[in-house]
Symmetry: C2
Subunit: 344 residues, 2 copies
């Protein structure tokens, strides 16, 4: 089964992916922090059954993964693909995740909240992501009664998620806003609209490859559609800003941009070892090169997929053995060279 | 006519070239600093005639260049090829140079001394360079009486050249001694043997591309052969040191060396603009890559020639028009890409 990120990217995709996360809790259990081990196992069974026993197409398309049985590497790999959150895999309590075969949906069980439904689509497809999340939410609700209050909406472990329990986000690639040192300003500006900007791996993660997540902070007092519309409005302005900077650079400093992009290509297609931070930065340049047409490809290069594949956990998982950081850097360089060979 | 530096390099050449310089003054004229303009023109004619009117093969193989008629660019280009010294082209007095067609010999007229005979051969060929310098020296002496003292030897404008008036030097490429931060120590160590280490463009020039000139400081009290032998002894030790470091790196850190060399290759074969300092450094890595066999070539790449060709004056001369530093960086990148294409 192809994953959502396997499709080649085309056009001037500033938005890499669109994501919805719904926080839900089950009425009959106390919140996760007060859940006994027995209750936790029962919770996991309840959620698993709500999907696997449903008489819908979803029943067979989800993998159930008991995280307590998984190695650190496997858990890290799930994290790097955004199928689970750091919070879920760093827990010592029973926890699990249901992942759809194409990785567009993951249902985390016993994270900060009992249930976290996540959906993701490539590109600017937040509406599709929302519709799918809503569908999964309804499916779970067929067999599970959520903790819900007529006045406050969905009740959640942390007060910031009360109400709709929704977090809508875009993963955006903004190399030029970053190049011109405007990320911090941007973060401050969008916070006035109740939005927040984070690194590729969420809260507290450092920016990598000029990729950021923009999402709503407020979940209460607005409908899901209003929240999504507000996110779209702010994101559209960011897209405009990035496009303007890009056009300006292409018009007035094209040779400098070409130089930067071709040097990055030269290093990536020749290096013999590379750490993930540098690789992410150079791959970001390559993505910009492809978007601007400065680099010609045969259409089969998916930079975002390479970015995921070269993360430490994924790299080790694909090598089927644990290796030192040095050896990882060597394998990462080899993998990137192979991906670029004959394609750019 | 091919120049001496046109021949492809092979083997583990740490020594790029061997050079002899003889300082001579004409008995009937005062030293250069006290020379009248008329005397200067007469001096130039005397030296020119000593070569051009000689009934030897040399008569036709030398070009006479009146430096006062040359543009700054042309003078700079001669300097970059080591055919003239900075002192000669920065003078406001009448000065000239005779250059042999293959550029193995240049005779500077009215430099610090009246006559400076320079010979150069590729590789470790200091004996050949000395024999040729001696031959040219004898040829000039057939028609010109040198300032010579039975006790002191050849009299020169600066006391440091009195005696033999010889400076013997090797141009050496020592990337590993530089990489390991040992250049300064080396300079101090060889000074105890009356030798000195300078950058590629001599006194006061900054090191470029890990290329240095090692030469004798003392010209008095020893014969030419003793001076040359002492230089060879010290240089042999430097070669040994560089080789040891190289073998050690190849044995214990080969992947790091490969990474460095391939990255430099990647940048040079892809960049769209590059200044001469960075280009020299990366070309030095390429030379090391070829020497160690890490980079495979089809045998037609002459890194030292590329290093000369990308110097600002040579670059402009070959473009036949003066351009901005920015445009030079673009043309330099283009030239290097062309040189490497299909060759490495």
């Amino acid at each position: 089964m192809n994953k959502w990120y396997d499709s080649s990217e085309t056009g001037d995709n500033i938005v890499i992916s669109s994501r919805i996360r719904l926080a839900r809790n089950v009425k009959k259990y106390p919140f996760s922090c007060r859940l006994s081990e027995e209750q936790a196992y029962n919770l996991i069974d309840d959620v698993k059954n709500s999907i696997k026993n449903s008489r819908t197409v979803f029943g067979d398309s989800f993998d159930f993964i008991n995280l307590n049985e998984k190695s650190e590497i496997e858990k890290h790999s799930l994290l790097e693909n955004h199928s689970v959150s750091p919070e879920l895999i760093n827990k010592n309590k029973p926890s699990a995740v249901l992942i759809k075969d194409d990785e567009t949906v993951s249902i985390m069980i016993n994270e900060e909240d009992h249930i976290r439904i996540q959906t993701v689509f490539p590109g600017y497809n937040i509406k599709k992501a929302w519709e799918l999340a809503d569908k999964i939410d309804n499916l779970v609700e067929e067999s599970i009664e959520y903790a819900f209050d007529e006045d406050y909406g969905y009740l959640t472990s942390c007060i910031t998620n009360v109400g709709t329990g929704i977090r809508a986000s875009f993963m955006i690639h903004i190399p030029l806003i970053e190049m011109f040192g405007q990320v911090e300003n941007l973060g401050q500006a969008i916070s006035k609209f109740g939005m927040t900007l984070r690194g590729i791996y969420g809260e507290g993660s450092e920016p990598l490859g000029s990729i950021y997540q923009i999402s709503n902070q407020v979940t209460l007092g607005k409908s899901e559609c209003e929240i999504i519309d507000a996110l779209k409005n702010v994101t559209n302005q960011i897209i405009e800003q990035e496009n303007e900077l890009r056009q300006n650079l292409m018009k007035n400093h094209r040779i400098d941009l070409e130089d930067k992009i071709f040097r990055s290509y030269g290093v990536l297609s020749n290096c013999r070892k590379i750490n993930s931070k540098e690789a992410m930065q150079l791959l970001s340049d390559l993505r910009l090169g492809i978007i601007t047409g400065i680099l010609e490809t045969n259409g089969d290069v998916n930079i975002y997929k390479i970015m995921m594949d070269i993360q430490p956990g994924n790299l080790i998982k694909n090598m089927s053995k644990n290796v030192s950081a040095d050896e990882r850097d060597i394998q990462r360089a080899k993998y990137i060279r192979k991906c670029l060979e004959n394609n750019i």
